[in-house]
């Protein structure tokens, strides 16, 4: 158990250095630009090597592709220009970077200062219709030059028309048993049609898998050269052709990474040669020296360790789309090097903070490509690169160390949305000073880090078959998903299920209002108007869940098979526990732990709907089912239905989830257990099982727009509630809201949850902090085994008035960070629907524990 040696764990005397301040200014000024470099080289290699004609892309094909890219892409040690928005015209334009201060790291995820990497193998072609307008769109525009437009339009996208994952999967489904007949003129398979309707679910495999944490420790401790040697040894020892190919691919891919790092070193030396400023010259030479050393050889210093992480991170993003790839427990993986350097006095604590700040800027040097059509669902998201600190180690001992606090301080100072900081806390093992410091950071930053309850999370993971050591070594992926570091390939976002669609199918006997009452979508489970009791309704609902589980998992598995055939991942496999030992790529099941994640959208809205049906229709019999359905269809219009809606939304009259009501809590638990049971029985294409999570990004706002009025009293097109949070405005008591969520069974929520709370900032920060810590500890507490305790919690600590002002005057709040439902985002980048959702979230005063009532934020007609 490491000893805390910091004189002050808050490190409040450490500020941003001049270097970081200047770099940060440029960072916030810069707008994202589309980068054609990756698609250019990948396409060129595929054409020159006949890959488009192949029925299968082997792992060696992929490894050679990436080596080719790494040996040809621009080795950028220093950017000279970036893109900004002109304050007067609103147009994007280039600006020169002064480079008075250099980053302590060279290299760049893309060729741009802040880039949008494109993956034509996935959904990059979705940008085709927008190429000429993407730099002018209102929200989140991307810079692009005419030359780049031409290159994408004429030279890149045409080659991928028949060869991206979505199209390959569609063809696979239309052709049985590997036939090759033409699929022209054939309507989509029913499951693809279901997917394209959007309202039921999304599956992320058409645009990514990612969503995992590599094992950086092997690159840091061994160096890539040793891993290559191991791969070659294993290749020479095996007679299995597939394994031989695997190990050859590993060596190939890692040689590419080493080559890239050396090219960066060359470039840094070239710049140093021409640099007149002696200190900048020396900095460039230091970068060159370090890049010649790592990641080829083991890291010897903290800075070399960070550089190893960074260079490997660039390579991993070359291969895997930048959505949800996460860096894991850096405070654990880099602690020895940090400790050694501090003890030897080769760096100071200030130096360490500066290094981490510089790395954070590099990690955030890209954003995910979100087409305009997807802005409604995903607008404002960063790449969701989670970093995890704290908690316990594999032996169950306190893992918090000095580097934990260094990372926390750097995050507090930088206020970036990416990387997304998550902190683990183990009640009874981690110190009170630590949890206090985490809560303090939340107050200072208004939104970070998210907090995870080790006891409940470890219990959830072991219930799914992980060993206690594996479970204790979890890191957070993407939004909030727990994932054993470097050994679990969990694709936590494989299915994003709109749970209200299951409710619709139950209410309308296998039909959905969105797709029309004449179209049978699922199975007929009976007309609820004929149900005698609530149990009959629940049975029908369970059948629809079963149907949905079957549909979504089998579609995910088909997409998975396409990935296996066309998209192996040698780089990630090289940096993972399992594939080297098994001689098998991650996509083929090479990881130690294989699972797929389902996340649920609209949980609280469905729970409250179930409660309403149970109470109002079946128990009290105040309304018949036909009347209830009519009320929903009319969107609660008319005098009687309006009264019903008011009654439904009043927690004093209708039980609501989040108020410690026995009926409500029973329904919530039943639902969580049902979903876990139906999905976890299913096997994925890698031989693992499915796990359930409750985090929603911004999709709950987008899905709300597609959905009619619900039995809960929610009106048509209104936002759903985020994550696992109770519905906004109906939970007046903070302790009760926390207790309701804390009673949910963690073994049924093994892919994480997001409980999003809003607190009013208070003048007396010390008092606020005392209450804050008390609530978190109380929420995490398992009450001596009587419950599991809440798994996760995250905060927004910005006043209602400031949020409303930020809508009207975004220019006054350029860096206002908010917690969405998992990750952090800049409030100004969110679409209006999502901004409204955050404003409307229940706001609690920590002192009283009571909600402050606000009127719903009005959304303008053009935005609704």
């Amino acid at each position: 158990m490491p000893e805390i040696k910091l004189p002050d764990i808050s490190l409040k005397d450490i500020r941003l250095t001049e270097r970081v301040s200047e770099l940060r200014k440029d960072y916030f000024k810069a707008m994202p630009e589309m980068c054609v470099e990756r698609p250019r080289w990948v396409t060129r290699f595929a054409i020159e090597n006949g890959l488009f004609k192949q029925d299968r892309i082997s792992i060696l094909d992929k490894a050679r592709t990436y080596r080719y890219v790494l040996e040809n892409r621009s080795p950028i040690a220093l950017h000279n220009q970036a893109c900004e928005k002109d304050a007067h015209t609103g147009k994007l334009k280039t600006f020169k970077l002064e480079n008075k201060h250099l980053s302590l790291f060279a290299g760049s995820t893309t060729s741009k200062y802040k880039g949008v990497p494109l993956y034509p193998e996935f959904l990059a072609p979705a940008f085709w219709p927008e190429l000429e307008t993407i730099s002018k769109r209102d929200r989140n525009p991307y810079g692009i030059t005419d030359k780049e437009i031409d290159e994408l339009n004429y030279d890149i996208f045409p080659h991928w028309i028949d060869d991206n994952i979505l199209e390959l999967t569609r063809k696979r489904m239309l052709r049985n048993n590997g036939e090759k007949h033409d699929v022209r003129g054939k309507k989509d398979p029913p499951d693809i049609t279901l997917l394209k309707r959007l309202v039921f679910f999304l599956t992320s495999k058409p645009y990514t898998i990612s969503h995992t944490i590599p094992d950086f420790s092997r690159a840091i401790k061994k160096g890539l050269r040793e891993i290559i040697n191991e791969a070659n040894e294993k290749k020479n020892k095996t007679n299995d052709d597939d394994k031989k190919e695997f190990y050859t691919a590993i060596a190939e891919a890692l040689e590419g990474i080493i080559a890239y790092s050396n090219r960066l070193a060359n470039e840094a030396e070239r710049l140093a040669k021409n640099e007149r400023n002696s200190s900048l010259k020396q900095e460039l030479l230091d970068i060159a020296r370090i890049n010649r050393r790592v990641p080829e050889y083991p890291a010897r210093t903290f800075r070399e360790g960070l550089t190893t992480v960074w260079i490997c991170w660039i390579a991993i993003h070359l291969e895997n789309p930048n959505i949800g790839l996460s860096l894991g427990r850096l405070d654990q993986v880099l602690y020895e090097l940090y400790r050694q350097d501090i003890d030897k006095k080769t760096i100071s604590i200030e130096d360490a903070v500066e290094l981490v700040c510089c790395l954070w800027l590099k990690i955030g040097d890209h954003v995910p490509a979100i087409p305009d059509a997807a802005e409604k669902l995903f607008g404002g998201t960063g790449s969701n690169q989670a970093i995890t600190i704290g908690g316990v180690d594999k032996e169950g001992k306190d893992a918090v160390n000095d580097l934990t606090y260094v990372i926390l301080r750097a995050t507090e100072l930088m206020l970036l949305r990416d990387p997304n900081l998550n902190a683990r806390y183990h009640l009874g093992i981690n110190s009170d000073e630590y949890i206090r410091r985490l809560c303090e950071a939340n107050i200072e930053t208004k939104a970070t880090p998210a907090l995870h309850n080790d006891k409940a999370v470890i219990k959830a993971l072991t219930s799914k078959g992980e060993t206690i050591e594996q479970a204790r070594d979890y890191g957070i992926v993407g939004c909030v998903e727990p994932c054993s570091n470097g050994r679990a390939y969990g694709h936590s976002a494989s299915i994003l299920l709109n749970l209200t669609s299951v409710l619709e199918l139950t209410l309308f006997n296998g039909r959905h209002r969105h797709t029309g009452m004449n179209l049978l979508i699922s199975e007929e489970t009976g007309d609820p108007v004929n149900f005698k009791d609530f149990d009959e309704f629940k049975d029908a609902f369970a059948k629809q869940v079963r149907w949905m589980a079957e549909k979504t998992t089998s579609l995910n598995n088909i997409f998975g098979r396409t990935h296996q055939q066309f998209y192996p991942t040698p780089i990630l496999s090289a940096l993972f526990e399992g594939p080297m030992e098994k001689g098998k790529d991650l996509i083929q099941g090479g990881a130690i732990i294989n699972s797929s994640g389902v996340t649920i959208i609209g949980f609280a809205d469905v729970v409250d709907s179930l409660i309403a049906i149970e109470e109002v229709v079946f128990k009290e019999k105040r309304y018949t089912f036909p009347e209830f359905i009519e009320a929903m269809k009319s969107n609660f219009k008319g005098n009687d239905y309006n009264k019903l809606q008011i009654r439904l939304m009043d927690p004093k009259k209708t039980p609501k989830y989040g108020n410690e009501d026995p009926t409500a809590d029973a329904n919530a638990t039943w639902l969580v257990d049902l979903l876990d049971k139906e999905f976890s029985e299913k096997r994925n294409y890698r031989g693992g099982h499915y796990r359930l999570g409750y985090w929603t990004m911004t999709i709950h706002a987008g899905y709300g727009r597609l959905t009619g009025a619900l039995p809960s009293g929610r009106k048509a097109k209104e936002n759903f509630t985020s994550g696992i949070t109770p519905v906004s405005g109906v939970t007046p008591s903070l302790p009760q809201a926390l207790n309701s969520v804390a009673c949910l069974p963690s073994q049924s929520i093994s892919s994480g949850m997001a409980l999003n709370l809003k607190f009013t900032p208070e003048a007396d920060k010390k008092k606020m902090l005392d209450n804050f810590v008390a609530y978190v500890k109380g929420y995490f507490d398992d009450n001596q085994g009587q419950r599991d305790g809440g798994m996760e919690i995250q905060f927004n600590i910005t006043s209602h008035d400031d949020l409303v002002d930020a809508v009207k005057h975004p220019e006054k709040y350029p860096g206002l960070l908010v917690r969405v439902s998992g990750y952090t985002a800049y409030f100004k980048d969110l679409n209006p629907q999502m901004q409204k959702e955050i404003i409307d979230r229940t706001e609690y005063q920590l002192q009283s524990g009571k909600a402050i009532p606000y009127d719903p934020f009005p959304l303008s007609q053009t935005d609704s």
Partner: protein, 165 residues
């Protein structure tokens, strides 16, 4: 045969007379502008396809025609509900485009739409609002979505070259 007639006879004639070229382009642009910027009617797809077709074969602009190089794509646009009588197809091959009124069986992508406005909103940026088209169930797409993405680019490109923005 029609392709030979268009490519080797009509186009050179049109290109010989800048005035004729500009005249036809202006007519088509005016009709397109009304549909794109104004109230799109159920004639939208016909006007769009024929406008694109005309531009392809009359324009000396090689950059626009480069969109057809090595491109083999077959599109079928079909009205539903009140617009059910509308059937138009467009085929791209051998560096040329052909528009047919009626169905084709071997489409790469089939777009079924309830009205012209929904179809316009689906295809167009920056007003492109796929989400609204889907939320209103107004457009359904079967087949290879990448073809629709390419088509969307060609339409945008055409609008820009015709000065309709």
């Amino acid at each position: 045969m029609a392709s030979v007639w268009r490519r080797f006879i009509l186009r050179p004639i049109a290109n010989m007379f800048d005035g004729a070229n500009a005249f036809f382009t202006k007519i088509r642009a005016w009709r397109l502008k009304k549909q794109v910027l104004g109230a799109a009617t159920d004639k939208f797809i016909e006007i769009l396809l024929r406008g694109m077709d005309l531009y392809f074969f009359t324009t000396p602009d090689d950059d626009f025609r480069r969109n057809l190089k090595d491109f083999d794509g077959r599109y079928y646009f079909k009205g539903a509900d009140k617009a059910e009588k509308i059937r138009f197809s467009a085929t791209f091959s051998n560096g040329d485009m052909q528009v047919h009124s009626g169905a084709i069986d071997d489409w790469d992508v089939m777009v079924t739409f309830k009205n012209g406005k929904a179809l316009r909103d689906y295809i167009f940026s920056p007003k492109q609002d796929i989400f609204n088209s889907i939320s209103e169930n107004a457009v359904e797409v079967d087949g290879n979505l990448n073809h629709i993405f390419k088509f969307g680019f060609m339409v945008q490109d055409l609008m820009r070259r015709l000065g309709i923005e």
